[in-house]
């Protein structure tokens, strides 16, 4: 569903992505792992259509990222990107009107699982609650590709647990792929089908998670430590 060849993205001071070749298949959860500054966010933004390649190309569902692909991709950025002055109900109504694949029937259930109510104001939510809300908005769509940029970073254990559970329970392995970026593998260890280790803008390791465990005799978390620390 995603084909990336020779992707290079240059910022004034660094080469954020330095020749990425990557194919994302349907029906899998990908772990995009790497330390801060390894280019994870940049790669996801390129797929989401918020950054444009300097070299190489990206095809999402056979097209260059743009308005058409945005309708088919759910993107959860690392920062808080929701209108803070809105209530949860208001932001839900807002995004529901924008996405043709919004699942109205699903939202209430997801909010309830995340212990959120529509009356709450976004600027009164804790960091963990805001992260949970972001995930609800990403998962309440019938998309084939979900991009989650650091969905767990800086959260309390209970929020982390809830988020991992929701990714698992909402993942539709028949026709959907999830790319999850993180710099701490920890509790996401068991989620991954495929693992991509990103280091200074290049792919260091890319393989099936189970194969890596078998070949190295290490958990993904330990392998991550060994490669990067």
């Amino acid at each position: 569903m995603v084909e990336i060849t020779g992707l290079v993205k240059v910022y004034p001071d660094t080469r954020a992505l330095d020749g990425i070749d990557l194919t994302i298949d349907s029906g899998k959860i990908y772990g995009l792992l790497g330390p801060n500054g390894s280019g994870k966010s940049t790669l996801l933004k390129c797929i989401a259509g918020l950054l444009r390649p300097d070299q190489g190309q990206i095809k999402v569902f056979g097209q260059r990222p743009g308005r058409v692909t945005k309708a088919k991709v759910a993107y959860l950025p690392e920062i808080d990107y929701l209108y803070r002055w809105m209530t949860i109900g208001e932001i839900i109504n807002f995004v529901a009107a924008m996405y043709p694949d919004w699942r109205e029937d699903k939202v209430d259930e997801l909010l309830k699982n995340m212990n959120l109510t529509k009356e709450q104001k976004i600027n009164s939510l804790s960091k963990g609650m805001r992260a949970r809300l972001k995930l609800v908005i990403a998962m309440a769509r019938e998309t084939e590709l979900v991009l989650l940029d650091e969905p767990l970073s800086g959260l309390d254990p209970s929020s982390r647990g809830k988020i991992v559970d929701m990714i698992l329970s909402e993942f539709r392995s028949e026709r959907q792929s999830v790319i999850l970026s993180t710099h701490e593998v920890g509790e996401t260890e068991n989620l991954y089908d495929e693992v991509i280790f990103l280091d200074k803008g290049t792919i260091r390791i890319m393989d099936q998670a189970e194969k890596l465990r078998q070949n190295h005799g290490l958990s993904i978390n330990d392998l991550f430590r060994e490669v990067f620390l």
């Binding site: 950054l51 929701l82 002055w85 807002f94 009107a97």
Partner: protein, 254 residues
């Protein structure tokens, strides 16, 4: 359609403080002047009461930038730019928001002006009231109002275009914004001059200029071609379209 209403609702609510501040200040100012009735000269009060109408120009400039700037300042640009909607919907709603709020504010400030200083206004225009009896000014009001409205909306469109351009660079955005705005105004006048001859088949419209001769009101009609205005509109739309293209194809979120 649902997307349009949600976007418009969002813009209106997001900028409601800006309108509140403008109207609040204007109200307080008028109230202050109202308390000086009988103390200050009526002419001074009437003139000073018009200050909000001048101030609103600066306010329009500010809120025009504000409808875009807040999206970046609060990181909501990430949401806005990942929506699968046409850039025209987003930029159009932002433009509409500024236009609606400006018209609304003008109406409220005018209402406040006429309410607070009703007596002063009536006595000030009393001597001239006889000249207004025929209602000749109605056509002028509509035509001049329309011209002002075109330049007002055109200017906001150029500000919005300039803001989008300033988002294409990483440094000195404020400077780029001002520079592009000045340049685009210049480009507009140059291009409009080029196009204008092609449009001289468009009709002219009349504006009556009054003057008083031997105590009688006389009107002199000036015919104004509409082609300069139409060519200005075309060029502004061209730049606005370019801004939309930049929004959809070029803007990046680092």
């Amino acid at each position: 359609m649902k997307a349009f209403w949600q976007l418009l609702r969002k813009e209106l609510l997001a900028q409601r403080w800006a309108v509140g501040i403008l109207l609040g200040l204007s109200f307080v100012w008028h109230l202050l002047l109202y308390s000086k009735i009988g103390i200050w000269y009526p002419q001074a009060i009437l003139s000073l009461g018009l200050i909000p109408f001048f101030f609103i120009h600066l306010w329009i400039l500010w809120i025009s930038i504000q409808v875009y700037r807040t999206e970046w300042a609060e990181d909501t640009a990430y949401l806005l730019l990942s929506l699968p909607v046409s850039s025209w919907l987003i930029t159009g709603v932002k433009l509409l928001t500024v236009v609606l709020y400006t018209c609304f504010s003008l109406l409220v400030i005018a209402a406040s002006y006429f309410t607070f200083f009703r007596g002063e206004i009536i006595s000030a225009i009393q001597p001239y009231l006889m000249y207004l009896e025929t209602g000749w000014y109605k056509r002028d009001l509509i035509n001049i109002g329309l011209i002002l409205f075109i330049f007002f909306v055109g200017s906001i469109m150029l500000i919005h275009f300039s803001y989008i351009c300033s988002r294409m660079v990483n440094r000195l955005r404020g400077l780029v914004l001002i520079w592009v705005f000045l340049l685009s105004n210049w480009v507009c006048s140059q291009l409009a001059n080029l196009i204008e001859p092609l449009l001289n088949w468009l009709p002219t419209f009349g504006v009556d200029l009054p003057y008083v001769e031997f105590g009688n009101l006389m009107l002199r009609e000036y015919r104004i071609p509409s082609s300069p205005f139409v060519s200005y509109i075309l060029v502004v739309f061209g730049l606005f379209a370019l801004g939309n293209w930049l929004w959809e194809k070029q803007i990046e979120l680092a």
